[in-house]
Symmetry: C2
Subunit: 309 residues, 2 copies
Amino acid sequence: MNKIVLICPERNDVSKWVESFKKENNNIEVEIYPNDTDREQTEFVATWNPPADAFEKFPNLKVIASMAAGVKHITSKKIPNNVKVTRVKDDYLNYDLSYFVLNALLNYLRDMPLYFQHQEEKIWDRQAYQRPEDVTVGILGFGNIGQAIGKLLLKNDFKVLGWSRSKKDVEGIETFKEDELNTFLSKSNVLVCMLPHTPETEDILNQELFQELPKGTYLINVGRGAHLQEEDFLEALANGQLSGAALDVFKTEPLPKEHVFWNHDKITITPHTASITNPATIVPKMVENFQRMQNNEPLKDEVDLEKGY
Amino acid sequence: MNKIVLICPERNDVSKWVESFKKENNNIEVEIYPNDTDREQTEFVATWNPPADAFEKFPNLKVIASMAAGVKHITSKKIPNNVKVTRVKDDYLNYDLSYFVLNALLNYLRDMPLYFQHQEEKIWDRQAYQRPEDVTVGILGFGNIGQAIGKLLLKNDFKVLGWSRSKKDVEGIETFKEDELNTFLSKSNVLVCMLPHTPETEDILNQELFQELPKGTYLINVGRGAHLQEEDFLEALANGQLSGAALDVFKTEPLPKEHVFWNHDKITITPHTASITNPATIVPKMVENFQRMQNNEPLKDEVDLEKGY
Ligand SMILES: NC(=O)c1ccc[n+]([C@@H]2O[C@H](COP(=O)([O-])OP(=O)(O)OC[C@H]3O[C@@H](n4cnc5c(N)ncnc54)[C@H](OP(=O)(O)O)[C@@H]3O)[C@@H](O)[C@H]2O)c1
Ligand SMILES: NC(=O)c1ccc[n+]([C@@H]2O[C@H](COP(=O)([O-])OP(=O)(O)OC[C@H]3O[C@@H](n4cnc5c(N)ncnc54)[C@H](OP(=O)(O)O)[C@@H]3O)[C@@H](O)[C@H]2O)c1
């Protein structure tokens, strides 16, 4: 049957998704869980943060498509045997995240958080600044998005390092593989975390890692809140091992009002806004995978469930 | 005589200048006004904001070197006949101003001033954002620095327009000359003012100009405070003709505590920090001009006193 079910209880932009599917292929019926029908007929679902028991309600499920780049929201649930998971790769996702990181970097080099504070207090006080050419940015997680970020930073004169499980080859960028983490860290003045959330990467931004960085390194976390060990992080800010941080992702989102991050003067907070998913460019790829599934062809952007990303 | 006199009563970094001269050419004596000696012997002065009567005290003055890119602080004083004025052109000045403008642009596209405010109020509220590729930036004053800014913005996917007295030819950038101002304005989503301060450009950012812009244009002023007609500007912010502004320069600096700009939520203020002059790279060019003067050779980076820049 030509049907895709959307399982995204928290999404309030679901109509945009439905529209995009209609526009891309009017023959595909789109239903919204839990009001969908004929579950035996459903082979393909697209989801963001599904309820824990959602998948098992589809006895003939073949493909779960993540509505985002991350898939922890899926892999943390029970995935029925032989069901495949795909995720988003999108040029605009790369584009938006890259400019977000460039912006965070320039704000750091220019002390913009301090100037915003000074403006409120009507303080006129020029700060020395750093130049991109004098700053080395290490990117933790040098995959699809990490490499796009690296290329934009390189074009803007930063020195760029990339760290990933397997060694990468990108012109102008010094790359490091899994067991070269400490060398990578020791050379980074700014650390950008762009890792996926897996058992291996959870709490990876911890005291042990921070102590391998040059003193005063700046942190930009655009991966997941789960990467950050919060007590170690606050301690590293307090003792100067980290000079500050820009955080876009948090263990609990929205960040609770009582959280100490909000009023910390070395932390810049954005509400998970580095990139906002764009159904118009993502849906065509889902439809392509839907048709590949129907034709028994290999899927695109499939997740390696062993690795978890 | 091998002597240069520094006339910069407000500068507190004068020792850096003296050091740089010493490093560049140990045979040149550097004296600080008003404690300098043998004024008949002095042919070359370097200055920032000199007292009105300073120059006439040097009966044999030949060259006044501005310690900055702007020269209004000199041209607004009486310049003795046949004395030449030079000004700073410096790759680092271009570099720093370009990244400053890029940063101001990205902050605007991403609503960063609002996020800084939201952080203080512990508000989690995602905003839609704009992409560089969808934004056209018009640069008023497309000379030495303006062109450097344009090239960096072009590399970062912005559409770029340049306006100057005479038509310029820069690849990838649509340029406009003096009498094409209104066409230029009508195409700009962001306006960057990088003009010199002259009688023609004073108060150029006024109601008449604003009304030629598309509604909601954003303003970045890195030229001089004298370019901005403040009442017209506040009115344009109030009626939405301008959506906001980043201001680095002001009619009076430091910006007085009682000025309404400080607490205006559509204005971002930085304390004239887009670029901080760097004696180490500027002094060698002054020394070169000093020697050119001694050898009766044409000076570099000479100011056209007719035009005023
Ligand atoms: N803040 C936001 O708005 C936002 C938006 C989109 C995505 N994200 C996050 O960004 C993550 C990355 O997305 P992506 O598309 O770039 O994924 P990707 O292409 O799969 O890249 C992941 C990278 O991390 C590396 N990696 C994974 N586990 C590792 C480990 N244990 N040790 C060392 N390296 C490891 C991978 O190495 P190999 O290449 O060797 O496998 C790869 O280079 C997503 O999972 C999501 O959580 C955040
Ligand atoms: N915020 C800061 O920290 C900072 C730092 C440095 C400089 N500045 C300011 O920036 C100014 C520009 O520096 P620059 O080195 O780029 O100077 P520049 O090379 O002389 O460029 C000035 C540009 O403005 C154009 N222009 C001048 N008067 C004009 C008019 N009446 N109508 C149209 N176009 C006009 C010129 O046109 P033509 O090319 O046709 O002559 C030229 O393109 C300085 O004078 C200074 O005030 C600010």
